[in-house]
Symmetry: C2
Subunit: 202 residues, 2 copies
Amino acid sequence: MPRDGSATRIRILDAAERLVIDSGYAATSIDQVIAAAGSSKGSFFHHFSSKADLAEQLVRRYAEADVGVLQEGLDVVAGIDDPRARLLAFMAHFEDHADEVMGSQSSCLYVAVLTERQLVGSDTAVPILGAVRAWRQAVADLLRGALGDSDHDVDALADHLFVTFEGAFILCRATGDPGHMRRQLSAVRVLYEALTSQSRSE
Amino acid sequence: MPRDGSATRIRILDAAERLVIDSGYAATSIDQVIAAAGSSKGSFFHHFSSKADLAEQLVRRYAEADVGVLQEGLDVVAGIDDPRARLLAFMAHFEDHADEVMGSQSSCLYVAVLTERQLVGSDTAVPILGAVRAWRQAVADLLRGALGDSDHDVDALADHLFVTFEGAFILCRATGDPGHMRRQLSAVRVLYEALTSQSRSE
C-alpha cells in the first residue's frame, strides 16, 4: 500500500460505489461502507470529511471513468474514414461491451445520485453534467459527419445515446434481465443506421 | 370526504408520490409523508400497515396510471388506417404532452423505486414489470404494422420507448432542463420515422 493510503481510499470508493449503485445513496450508511471496504472509521475520515464528501469524490471518479469509456470508443473508430461507417462502428463497440458493463455493475451511479433531491443541483452532480456534455458533443460530431446538412435536432439525437444507457439500466432493473443493455444499444444502432441511410438517399 | 376515508388515502398517496419522486424512497420518512399530507399517524396507519405497504400501493397506482396514459395514446390514434401514420401520430401524442408531464412531476416513480435494492425484486416492483410489458406489446404491434415483415428485434425497438421515457427523466434531472423530455420523444419519433420509411423502400 502506498504511504499516502491511496489504496485504502480506492478500496473505500469501490465499496461505496457498489453499495450506492445497488441500494441508493440515502440507504447507504458510512458504517456499511467501512464494513464492506474492511476499513475503519479512522481511515474513512482520513480520506473523506463526510458522507457528502464521499459522494462528491465518488461521482467525480465515476464521471471521469465514463468520459474515459467514451474516449475509448472514439479511439477505436478514429481510423475509419467513412463518417457513417465510423458512427455505426462506434455504436457496435458499446454493444460489444454491454454484457461486460452489466456484469460489473447492476445500474448506473448517475441514476442513484440523481434520484436524491439533496444531491441534485449540488456540486456533487456537476461532473454528471460534464459527462453528459462530453457524450453529446462527441456523438453529435459523429452524427453530423454521417448526416451531412440536415434539419434534425442533432444535439437531441446525440443526447439520445446517454438517455439510452440510463433508460436501459432502469429496464434491466425492472425486468431483472441485464441482456436488455445490449439489445437497447443495438436498437439505437439500427435506428441511427436508418436515419443516416435515409439522409444519404434524399 | 367519503366515510371510508378514501380522500385521506388519496391525499397521503399524492404526498408520498411527490416526496419519493423528489427525494428517493429511503430518504422519505412516514413522518414527512404525514406532514406533507396534513394527516395524522392514526390516519396513516388506518390506510397503510407500514412504509413498505405504502410503497406497494404507491407503485400499483402509478403503474395503473401509466398504463392508462398508454391506452389514451392508443385511443387517440385508433382511427388512423395507415399503420405508419398511426405509429407516428402515437409518438407525436406523447411529444405534445411531454411538457405537461414534466410540469406535474420532476422524475419517474419507477426510477426512485428501482434505485433501491430493498424494493427491486420485491412484490412492490411487480406492477412496474406489468407496465413495461403493456408498453412493449402495444408499441411492438404499432411497429410491426409499420415495418411489415422485418428481421428487426421489434420487442427491443418497442422497449426503446419505455427506455426513452426513463432515460429522459434522468437527463432532465442531470441538466435541470425539463425540455429534454419533449426533445427526446421527438428524437425517437424521427428515428422510428426513418426506420419505417427505410423498410418501405426496401
